[in-house]
């Protein structure tokens, strides 16, 4: 009983406080804070087969490694990380942090706001950090995870050593913030990562996906060949073709429905969809 009363009083005080203009401004610039994770929905893919491998979705307080299969797949790994972040960002309104070293930025390119709309991500929610090297990146990631104020932390980093990754995973646990680490193709894996996703890009002609609403677009949408090679939340060594359809869905559908991972449709449906 007293707790409810307190909550009521608190909202009342907030309403009274709200009259000053500058306070309003300060509040507007501040991203809405959400209560810590227990009340949040599960961080799931939206694709049944994948979600079955993960109990209650991806762990929100752990490291997740995203490893490109070969050098040419680096961009696919980065887009997969963004798609994962987008799934979490749909229910967690806090900002996202993107951290990469200067060398990585010139090699793989810098984040481009208008392209983020395909991921249903608001560019204004990103905090971009450019570091000198991977050591500094590790420091930034650690601080960001510790602060417990972010929706997710995405870092481009060569797989950190045992100590560094242990620290990162402890901080992720402490701050209840997930870290998506996009590593280099030659890395053998982060020991303390809860999941490890090996991502390869899909060739346009190999793609099993069709784009019925835009038949003139012969190009594939965001699609990957994804292998779950490590999973401490369930069975590992699974392989899927996944896509993140953003055109196929009608635009007026709510974003929650439109932006989710999808598996290719069964063979018997494919022809009819292509015909449609």
């Amino acid at each position: 009983m007293p707790l409810e009363n307190l909550d009521k009083l608190r909202t009342q005080i907030k309403r009274i406080e709200g009259h000053t203009a500058f306070l309003e401004g300060a509040r507007k610039s501040l991203p809405a804070r959400h209560p810590p994770s227990p009340s949040l929905p599960a961080w799931s893919f939206g694709a049944k087969e994948v979600d079955q491998c993960l109990e209650h979705g991806l762990a929100p307080h752990a490291l997740h490694e995203i490893n490109p299969l070969a050098y040419k797949d680096c961009w696919a790994a980065l887009s997969f990380a963004l798609a994962l972040a987008s799934k979490r960002a749909s229910f967690d309104q806090r900002p996202l942090l993107w951290c990469s070293s200067r060398a990585n930025k010139s090699e793989f390119g810098g984040l481009y706001g208008q392209g983020l709309q395909r991921f249903n991500l608001d560019p204004a929610r990103f905090i971009l950090i450019e570091t000198k090297n991977d050591n500094e990146t590790a420091f930034v990631l650690e601080e960001a995870l510790k602060s417990a104020s972010l929706c997710a932390v995405i870092g481009l980093i060569a797989a950190p050593g045992l100590t560094a990754s242990r620290r990162l995973s402890l901080m992720a646990n402490k701050g209840q913030t997930p870290a998506l680490l996009v590593t280099k193709p030659e890395d053998t894996g982060i020991k303390n990562a809860t999941t490890r996703w090996q991502v390869a890009s899909l060739r346009a002609d190999q793609s099993l996906f069709t784009t019925p609403s835009f038949p003139q677009l012969a190009l594939p949408q965001l699609s990957w060949q994804v292998a779950l090679t490590r999973n401490s939340q369930g069975p590992a060594d699974k392989k899927w073709h996944l896509e993140f359809p953003s055109y196929e869905q009608p635009l007026h559908k709510s974003s929650k429905e439109a932006f989710r991972f999808a598996l290719p449709s069964p063979f018997r449906n494919r022809k009819s969809r292509a015909a449609a």
């Binding site: 804070r33 390119g109 392209g115 204004a124 905090i127 950090i129 890009s201 002609d205 190009l219 055109y247």
Partner: protein, 472 residues
């Protein structure tokens, strides 16, 4: 006189390489050291400093005492200075640079002196003391006006008529007014004026790091109390310390949001304090707030659950990273009104933007075309070698970073022409044809051809191909 001539005359002449940049740096250090006399001081030119001592002379037993103290302090550091004190900067400059007195006593125009007295003091100074342009000075000399007295005796109107251009006459009168205190001269001090400050002096020089942290906590207590009384929050703070050997150190921090949280501010300082060398001991420390913004009084929460509210704000993280990595390393994306891809977005480092307007907002009523943009952009674009049919077909294959990729499917072209309103009077940039291509090795890229194959003015040089972005 050449150096060889001088050495021939005096073989024992000692020579040293001039280092003007070092001189300038040292002069700046001296200017900041001069803050012990007054908070307002700065370098004027290559060899002069100014100090605004208004209201601080009584601390040194009057104007004479102040000049004596300055002269003594500089002599101790190994410098000979020519000092002068006057009611205006222009007069003090003229007296210090153009009074050649054998006696060591510095010229002073007392603050209570009347206009005629002031004129009397300046009467015999040369006109060059007015800081005029060379041409104007030589003109005055040609007219027979050698001293300020001669200039002052002339009626203003007739003075105006003697110059070929009204600008020249105006500059002379302007400087004359300044030196006679008829016109103010704005001066920019080295350190901006502070809004809130707190100072701590030690009876004995401080050496230990622990002691410094304790002292900083006391200063923070004081400053945050001052801020709270005025409903303000600090945006930028400077922690200064003066050592007993005369050297100074300054640590500046900034916050992303007005703040007067002692613990947060202390954490921002803590890391930088550990790098400070106490040297021969620290005499005085001070904390200044140079920028503050309104911050209302906050209700203290009743429940411990909300206690960590402040520490959960991303601004704490941003402050920490800004002060550790440098403010330029943390950025936010901002949309700009342009259709040239690299101009359509900029990275701001100041404060997070409210929202980013989408490029083409698609409403349910009119499901408009979605302009496809990559999520990673190479800036600047990188040049590629391309095998492409003429005139405007998408490439069949391209070589980028020494790897050849074969194109399977492609989409395009999307033509982006130049923004003529930006390029008035410049050589116009060429139109770009963008293609989204998918390669056999996997991966989708955004390529463009800069220029067209046909067309009259484009014929000068063949178009070039670039890679600009990645679709994953």
């Amino acid at each position: 006189m050449a150096l060889s001539d001088a050495l021939a005359l005096c073989p024992s002449l000692a020579t040293k390489q001039a280092a003007p940049q070092k001189d300038v740096r040292r002069l700046l250090q001296l200017a900041s050291w001069c803050e012990r006399y007054s908070p307002l001081s700065n370098v004027h030119d290559d060899n002069s400093l100014w100090i605004d001592v208004t209201g601080s002379t009584h601390l040194f037993a009057g104007e004479q005492g102040l000049l004596a103290a300055i002269s003594k302090d500089f002599r101790q550091q190994g410098y000979t200075v020519k000092l002068a004190l006057a009611g205006s900067f222009a007069a003090a400059f003229a007296l210090s640079h153009f009074v050649f007195d054998d006696k060591a006593k510095a010229p002073i125009i007392p603050s209570q002196s009347s206009f005629t007295q002031l004129q009397h003091y300046l009467y015999s100074l040369p006109v060059t003391a007015l800081r005029l342009h060379e041409n104007t000075c030589s003109l005055l000399h040609r007219l027979g006006l050698m001293t300020l007295g001669q200039l002052m005796d002339l009626p203003r109107e007739s003075l105006k008529r003697r110059f070929p251009s009204p600008d020249q006459a105006r500059s002379v009168l302007f400087r004359l007014d300044q030196i006679l205190e008829l016109r103010d001269e704005p001066l920019a001090p080295l350190t901006p004026p502070v809004l809130f400050s707190s100072r701590l002096r030690f009876a004995q020089a401080l050496f230990s790091k622990h002691g410094l942290e304790r002292a900083l906590t006391r200063l923070l207590d004081d400053v945050t109390w001052q801020l709270e009384r005025q409903n303000q929050g600090a945006r930028s703070l400077t922690f200064s310390l003066w050592r007993s050997d005369g050297s100074t150190s300054h640590i500046a921090i900034g916050t992303a949001q007005p703040c007067r949280d002692k613990a947060h501010l202390f954490n921002l300082f803590k890391e930088k304090i550990s790098r400070i060398e106490p040297g021969f001991g620290i005499d005085v420390i001070a904390l200044f707030v140079a920028k503050a913004e309104p911050l209302s009084v906050k209700q203290i929460s009743l429940q411990s659950r909300q206690k960590s509210d402040r520490s959960r704000s991303p601004f704490v993280l941003i402050d920490r990273l800004r002060n550790h990595l440098g403010a330029q390393k943390i950025g936010y994306l901002q949309a700009l009104p342009s259709h040239i891809p690299e101009r359509a977005q900029s990275l701001t480092t100041s404060s997070p933007p409210q929202t980013m307007p989408p490029l083409h907002a698609a409403s349910p009523a009119s499901p408009s075309v979605i302009y496809d943009r990559p999520f990673l952009l190479l800036n600047p674009p990188e040049s590629i070698d391309v095998l492409a049919p003429l005139p405007d077909d998408p490439p069949l294959s391209f070589t980028w970073r020494r790897v050849t990729r074969k194109v399977i499917t492609s989409n395009g072209p999307e033509r982006l022409t130049r923004e003529w309103w930006r390029e008035l009077g410049q050589k116009p940039s060429r139109p770009r044809d963008y293609y989204k291509v998918s390669t056999r090795e996997g991966g989708t890229f955004w390529l463009y051809r800069n220029g067209l194959y046909q067309g009259s003015e484009e014929c000068r040089s063949p178009p070039q191909w670039f890679i600009h972005g990645f679709f994953g």
